[in-house]
């Protein structure tokens, strides 16, 4: 069911900035929210108090709505869910699992809940659990990925659900947004394009690598661990591929990956860091202020919609 996401979330553009661990911190989140989109704080790398500090920093920088993402595989997920309620965060997104057990607390705190779903069955479950909308994320996205493409997942989730569906994965311009609107989406989550925002505090090497990336530059690693990730193919990714070819255990694979994202984001290690990135990176060509990215995206979307439906 199509719905006005801007009204639901009280934002100007129907654009949500995807949470990216170590990357979408208070600086990026507040810039996106100030620019008229929904900034989303990543907490996969934070504990409860770290999350609380970032939430308070965001509130110093913006009075617009923002969201906190809860990475459900994190050992601190319970703490973060509690902090989010205590700090009266207006909107929560969740990843890597189903937030069922937190739903009663969120609903009691009046929080709008937008879980990310990689399949129809999981999306249906989230609707039953009381989600306000679902983010159907295809495997074109960077970071943790499911198995199905945005093109195929979005219309199937739209058919299966009554609540609105936000599309994610492979969107970096107005064409991607318009395409997802055709598939039935009410809103659009975008990650890779916001990674190169001026206000994003990721290492300059990382931004440069994403800007340089071509269509075929990413790969997914770790399928055998059950939680694969999409990254730019570099030396680390090739080591993963070699390990998986000789059927290494999930423990060995997880050990190789430990600390790798931090190396990429903070130290700028493009060879042995985990350079998480979406397949659409080839369309991302310059660093811009978040506000300008949002305006470009929305104007482009309007232009595409009016030109193709003449």
């Amino acid at each position: 069911m199509y719905a006005d996401i801007c009204q639901l979330l009280n934002i100007q553009y129907p654009i949500i900035q995807g949470a990216m661990a170590w990357i979408s911190d208070s600086s990026l989140v507040s810039a996106v929210s100030n620019g008229g989109g929904l900034g989303v704080l990543a907490t996969g790398h934070l504990d409860g108090e770290g999350c609380r500090a970032e939430i308070r920093r965001i509130r110093e920088l913006t009075d617009k709505p923002f969201a906190v993402n809860i990475m459900l595989l994190s050992q601190f997920a319970d703490d973060i869910a509690q902090v989010v309620c205590e700090e009266h965060v207006p909107i929560v997104t969740t990843g890597a699992g189903s937030p069922g057990k937190f739903m009663p607390a969120f609903k009691e705190a009046g929080i709008i809940v937008l879980p990310v779903a990689p399949s129809v069955a999981i999306a249906k479950r989230m609707e039953k659990d009381g989600a306000d909308a679902v983010i159907a994320e295809g495997c074109e996205s960077g970071g943790h990925v499911g198995k199905i493409t945005t093109m195929c997942l979005v219309p199937q989730v739209v058919d299966a659900l009554h609540i609105p569906v936000i599309a994610a994965g492979g969107i970096a311009d107005g064409r991607g947004m318009a395409a997802c609107r055709m598939l039935g989406a009410s809103g659009y989550q975008i990650g890779t394009r916001f990674l190169v925002a001026k206000e994003c505090t990721v290492h300059p090497n990382y931004k440069a690598r994403v800007i340089k990336a071509k269509d075929i530059d990413t790969t997914t690693t770790g399928q055998s661990t059950g939680h694969p990730v999409r990254v730019i193919r570099n030396r680390l990714a090739r080591e993963f591929e070699a390990l998986e070819k000789r059927a290494a255990s999930a423990e060995e694979l997880d050990a190789l990956g430990r600390g790798a994202l931090r190396r990429a984001v903070k130290d700028g290690d493009m060879d042995y860091g985990s350079v998480m990135c979406g397949q659409i990176a080839g369309l991302v060509t310059k660093e811009q202020p978040a506000k300008e990215i949002l305006e470009d995206l929305y104007q482009d979307y309007l232009r595409v919609m009016s030109e193709t439906t003449k």
Binding site: S98, K101, S119, A121, K124, K128, K147, G226
Partner: protein, 75 residues
């Protein structure tokens, strides 16, 4: 009774033979089901028995599923 229905749903989703599936069968190791497969199986079982299974994360064996279904469908 419940076991047979559950076994057949699992067999259909995973492509395994029903005869290979027992109460001790491990979802992750024997059935090679990942989290997407598991949620699909749980979804189909919930529809079949008209129940809601809350604690999906702790399911390790087919026996765990049968136990949950037995408990919930008695209510």
């Amino acid at each position: 009774m419940n076991f047979e229905k559950i076994r057949d749903i699992i067999a259909e989703q995973t492509g395994k033979d029903a005869e290979e599936i027992t109460m001790e069968t491990s979802v992750k190791d024997d059935l090679e089901a990942d989290s997407l497969d598991l949620f699909q199986i749980i979804n189909d079982i919930e529809d079949e028995f008209d129940i809601k299974i809350e604690d999906v994360e702790n399911i390790k064996t087919v026996g765990d599923v049968v136990k949950l279904v037995d408990e919930l469908s008695q209510k």
